[in-house]
Amino acid sequence: MAAKESQNPVNRRDALRVGLSAVGGLTVVGVSGLLAGKASSRETVWQIDPEACIQCEKCSANCVLPQSAVKCVHSFSMCGYCDLCSGYLEPGAQSRDTGAENQLCPTGAIERTFIEDPYFQYTIDEELCTGCGKCVKGCGSFGNGSLYLQVRHDRCLNCNECSIARSCPSRAFRRVPADTPYILRGDEGAKRAE
């Protein structure tokens, strides 16, 4: 009798524990199941919508990486290959050559190569590019807009909360499916969309 009495509270506590465990477990499983129902098995990654980007230069400073994962990309299919390139040259450039004083890019990350008279090819040196978007502004304002910013996925860490996205004033950052991780312009974009 005495033993029974001393056991009773233990049993009650045990029953309570099991009951609450079941509630806790079912809650976690239920929430997970609810979310799994609409979950995409597809991973998503961060990307810049070039149509929404305003070239505020925040991409170059706000990435958690010492070197921003945002770089300028070039849709060659759209480029006019102009001698007077508004993405390459300073607005008041004295001459149209590779002189540092004439270049718009603060790090000299755009390589200008002569193709044939009168065309020049402009290539981005990704190691030097800081993703500031000065060339993007120049090209988009006065040229074809073939230069634009994109998150480079070989660099991006895909943080849960992207710190550039947080500071982006035009909400140009968004998550896109990992199997179409770029938002490209020109033929490059069309080819990928097919």
Partner: protein, 444 residues
């Protein structure tokens, strides 16, 4: 567009003329894709280079992460409960620090996954990635059976702190109980902020992710360094006094079916383990009820009456704070800014407001959106405040209720299953045949 492709070499002159014209045009403020210059038709056989688009990390590596998580959780539980080995637990902890911390750079972690889950619950448009759900749910489910083995051997945030515990001091109970309320508040605010779409605050104030990535804003590194420095004397300060996921794990672990015990057998109250836990998770025996029973009952009655007052009062207070809280939301901040600019309080236009004006959306639309978000903060504030009031009330009641403990026992909701206390227990040492006394080994 293809019709423009076959142009002659005169284009360059057009280029020059056109650019000088465009320079004057006012529409040039917004960089867009406009074909101002035709695509050249190259004569020299030049082929346009392809734009390289390196893909993100392979999808299959996500499965590897899940596999490592499952394996690490299983090993942590095995090491803590079956092998009772602190050394193996420490080794596993270092591996987890290397893999989830430095290799995976701290993302995704179950602590942050709390936010994805709450965003998934409140925002019907957001689909939580499958791997995030697994990272959120698995440690919780396991805690129901084995306790917080995740904290002890798998969590990279815990591991980096556990590795620097040098001279832990005992935090006074009243300080520990008070600071222990912060994780509930952090969890509550994290859920409020994700539910309203204001962002992921847990990630924002993650002190260690800067180390994992070998780079972060200075303030973040400073925060991390101070937490680690503090961690040399106050063991695992983030886990005990901040971690929002620890709240959920604590609830689960309290109910755990099998939890680690200091002693493998019967506790003989030798007091040797008393000082072994740097986290204050070992309870001393309670002794007899210290005070007068009637006073105790009256105190409990007062607290039970106080509970609804705390719940309603908390809800009312936090919901009153909806203006400053909702100001953290991008849309609300933008609406406030636009309103200020329009009334002339803030003169220079910000990048945000310029981008908004160029987007073609009307101010009325923006204000309506901001109003909806503010209302959501008001409602959410009621829930958050009520939750905090409930937590505070429950804590007070929990402290005033007397629980008889005859031996030294582990606080299952606070214990990280790190295994430090095992070697302090003489029963354990006997089990391992490690008693140096020799002469005392005559039980058989």
């Amino acid at each position: 567009m293809p019709s423009n492709r076959h142009q002659s070499r005169i284009t360059v002159k057009k280029c020059l003329a056109a650019s000088s014209l465009v320079l004057l045009s006012p529409s040039a403020a917004f960089a867009q894709a406009v074909e101002r210059f035709p695509r050249p038709d190259f004569q020299s056989g030049y082929v346009r280079p392809l734009l390289q688009t390196p893909g993100p990390r392979s999808f299959w590596l996500g499965y590897l992460d899940i596999f490592v998580l499952v394996a690490a959780l299983a090993l942590a539980s095995y090491f803590a409960l079956k092998l009772r080995s602190r050394a193996r637990m420490f080794g596993l902890m270092l591996f987890s620090l290397a893999y989830f911390g430095f290799f995976r750079r701290g993302c995704i972690c179950p602590v942050g996954a709390v936010q994805n889950v709450s965003l998934g619950l409140f925002d019907s448009g957001y689909a939580v990635p499958g791997i995030v759900i697994v990272f959120f749910a698995l440690p919780l489910i396991l805690a129901l059976f084995f306790g917080r083995t995740f904290c002890g051997g798998v969590c990279p945030l815990g591991a980096i702190q556990d590795a620097v515990v040098l001279r832990p001091v005992t935090v006074k109970p009243w300080i520990a109980h008070s600071l222990g309320m912060i994780p509930y508040a952090f969890l509550g605010f994290a859920v409020l902020f994700t539910a309203t779409g204001a962002g992921f605050v847990v990630c924002r104030y993650d002190p260690f992710v800067g180390f994992f990535r070998f780079g972060a804003p200075f303030t973040m590194l400073l925060l991390g360094a101070s937490v680690l420095l503090l961690g040399t004397v106050v063991a695992r300060p983030y886990c005990r006094f901040l971690c929002p996921y620890g709240v959920l794990l604590g609830w689960m672990s309290r109910l755990s079916k099998w939890h680690v015990r200091t002693s493998p057998g019967e506790c003989n109250n030798c007091r040797l383990c008393e000082e072994s836990c740097p986290f204050g998770a070992i309870h001393a025996p309670s002794g007899e009820f210290p005070g007068d029973r009637r006073t105790g009952a009256r105190q409990l009655a007062v607290l039970l009456v106080l509970l609804p007052v705390l719940v309603v009062g908390g809800g009312w207070t936090v919901s009153r704070l909806y203006v400053p809280l909702s100001g953290q939301h991008f849309t609300v901040a933008l609406a406030e800014r636009i309103q200020h600019e329009n009334t002339g309080i803030t003169v220079p236009a910000s990048d945000e407001s310029n981008a908004f004006r160029a987007s073609g959306k009307t101010t009325a639309e923006l204000f309506a959106e901001a109003h909806v978000i503010r209302e959501r903060f008001k409602t959410g504030g009621w829930f958050l405040g009520a939750f905090l009031g409930l937590v505070a009330g429950a804590k007070l009641i929990g402290l005033s209720v007397f629980r008889r403990r005859t031996g030294y026992s582990i606080d299952t909701s606070a214990c990280f299953s790190c295994g430090r206390c095992f070697s302090y227990c003489p029963v354990e040492r006997e089990r391992l045949g490690k008693n140096q006394g020799g002469a005392e080994n005559d039980n058989e």
